[in-house]
């Protein structure tokens, strides 16, 4: 299996190749440059790995939550490549990828992924590593005020994501001693998207290209305009 993974959900832009060993990755903090960087990153990775485009079996992408435009860039590129190569897509939660990365590097098994969602809200998800190395979500992903984030049971939780900087005070206060530590400098990465997507693909969970769609979580993005009453009598 040869898997390509991409993520453009935050100010970070990354791509990774995975075929069972250690993923090969390009990662850059590059706000507003994703459209310019992403495909050249993939080209560089393919050249380095000695793969041709046609050898790619599946494409995984960070489906959100995250910056709306960035989510659509990753979804659009996943759609285009999957359609062009006639291969399936695997959408991966960016919160799960964020948590997976924190566990991979930090060694813990319980992560609270929190990304700044602007408008005084955060994207929030609790993840645990189960026996057998499978990442499991504890409760549904949320977009909410930091005060309203649902806290999971138990101790030894580790915080990951930039909301632990922006709203760190509130979140730490709420967790108290159940929080073991945090890393606010962490973003979702294609490497973790790849590692999470591979078993999904192997178990037949790939989707057709047109189903490479973002999951925004925030869906109330516009207020319908009230019809003006007719001209005064």
């Amino acid at each position: 299996m040869k898997l390509l993974a991409i993520d453009t959900s935050t100010i970070a832009c990354s791509a990774a190749l995975f075929d069972g060993g250690d993923p090969r990755e390009r990662f850059e903090i590059a706000p507003r440059e994703h459209a310019d960087l992403l495909l050249p990153m993939v080209d560089a990775l393919l050249a380095e790995a000695g793969w041709s485009r046609e050898q790619i079996d599946v494409i995984a992408f960070g489906r959100g939550p995250g910056a709306f435009t960035g989510l659509r860039i990753a979804a659009g590129v996943a759609q285009g490549i999957a359609f062009g190569l006639d291969i399936p897509v695997v959408p991966v939660s960016t919160l799960a990828a964020l948590a997976h990365g924190a566990m991979r590097e930090g060694g813990g098994t319980r992560v609270l992924a929190a990304m700044d969602a602007r408008m005084r809200e955060i994207y929030w998800g609790a993840y645990e590593l189960e026996g057998g190395g499978r990442l499991v979500a504890r409760g549904a992903e949320q977009v909410c005020a930091p005060m309203d984030a649902r806290l999971p049971v138990g101790e030894g939780w580790f915080g990951a994501g930039d909301a632990w900087d922006v709203y760190g005070d509130i979140l730490r206060l709420r967790l108290g001693p159940r929080l073991a530590g945090w890393d606010a400098g962490r973003y979702p990465r294609a490497r973790d998207i790849a590692l999470l997507a591979a078993p999904v693909y192997m178990e037949g969970g790939g989707l057709p290209p047109e189903q490479a769609l973002p999951v925004y979580l925030r869906d109330n993005v516009a207020q319908p305009k009230k019809r003006k009453p007719s001209a005064p009598e």
Partner: protein, 343 residues
């Protein structure tokens, strides 16, 4: 040469396949206007969200309809600007990566070049040079088209675009968004003699337009007659007076433009180009000037994928494509384009 074109610059998702020898092979359009109606205008974020759901199924449909496999496709064109950045990025990311995955050239197309050249999809096609009047919800331009790709803007609106003035006035007349076509319909029943609206900026030389005052004039007229007993009559008469003023103003400037450039062919493009009163008037005018007016069919006046596939095909024949990323531009001056090299 055969090119797929993707258009997602505003609130229409359009996809088409154009063949340099066989012409337009297939085209599909999904309009979002009903979705934006309850917001009384295009909501950019909602537009982008819809494009990313619609665009790939449209590609599938046009390829099936054209009976075209990847082996016969020579390039992918997409609108790269001007327009709503988030919306543009959907077409650009899908288009660029489709091209990437197939090892095909990708061609970023200027949206307004697509509109200007849309008339060339029709038969008989106008021959360059010509004067183009581009009238839509976002633009009001008079352009001297020396040849494909070489555009000189000779007149522009100073405030509202014509289509915008149509839509805003339609809202005053209680018409549902987008109101341009509904206003045209209402104007047909109106009395042309009851009101006379001003013809903005015709009393001074030059080819500039201004349409925001007309909307205000309509609002004041409605206010002045708010006690009128027959409100339906009033709405129709105001619609008629407004449309007559717009058509008159555009006609006066077009006549000036033809005379100033010493050209005889007038090409009309953009959504307002579908207005029948405008078409009739400009047809007569061109004839009076010893020339001819050209109009793309209504579906090529509004945003569509066909014009992007066509312009992209011309650019690709001229050896232009992109090898890098898929950056888009909210603003992109039309006269910054280079002439298209003969293919």
């Amino acid at each position: 040469m055969r090119v797929i074109g993707l258009e997602t610059s505003c609130d229409e998702s359009g996809v088409a396949i154009y063949d340099a020898r066989e012409g337009l092979l297939a085209q599909r359009l999904h309009s979002q206007s009903r979705m934006h109606a309850e917001y009384a205008g295009v909501v950019p974020e909602l537009a982008s969200r819809d494009h990313v759901r619609r665009i790939l199924p449209l590609v599938t449909e046009v390829m099936r309809e054209a009976g075209t496999g990847w082996g016969q496709i020579d390039g992918i064109a997409y609108t790269a600007g001007p327009g709503l950045v988030g919306a543009l990025l959907v077409g650009a990311s899908v288009g660029r990566s489709l091209a990437w995955s197939r090892g095909l050239p990708a061609v970023p197309v200027h949206h307004l070049e697509g509109h200007l050249l849309a008339a060339l999809l029709e038969r008989p096609a106008p021959v360059c040079p010509f004067v183009a009047l581009l009238v839509s919800g976002g633009h009001t331009l008079l352009v001297k088209v020396e040849r494909a790709g070489r555009y000189e803007i000779i007149g522009e609106t100073l405030d509202d675009a014509v289509g915008e003035a149509f839509d805003k006035t339609a809202t005053l007349l209680d018409l549902p968004y987008p109101g341009g076509p509904a206003l045209e319909q209402l104007a047909r029943a109106g009395d042309p003699a009851r009101f006379s609206f001003p013809r903005p900026m015709v009393d001074r030389p030059g080819l500039e337009f201004s349409f925001s005052g007309l909307k205000t004039f309509a609002a004041n007229t409605l206010l002045g007659y708010r006690h009128a007993s027959d409100r339906d009559r009033l709405r129709a008469d105001v619609a008629r007076a407004f449309q007559d003023a717009v058509v008159d103003t555009l006609a006066i400037k077009c006549r000036r433009a033809l005379r100033a450039t010493r050209l005889s062919r007038l090409v009309v493009a953009g959504g307002v180009g579908a207005n029948r009163a405008l078409r009739q008037r400009l047809t007569e005018l061109a004839r009076e000037e010893g020339g001819e007016a050209f109009f793309p069919r209504a579906e090529f006046c509004t945003d569509n994928g066909a014009m992007i596939a066509f312009a992209g095909c011309l650019r690709l024949q001229g050896g232009e494509w992109t090898r890098g990323g898929f950056d888009v531009r909210a603003r992109w001056p039309l006269d910054a384009l280079q002439a298209i090299a003969p293919g």
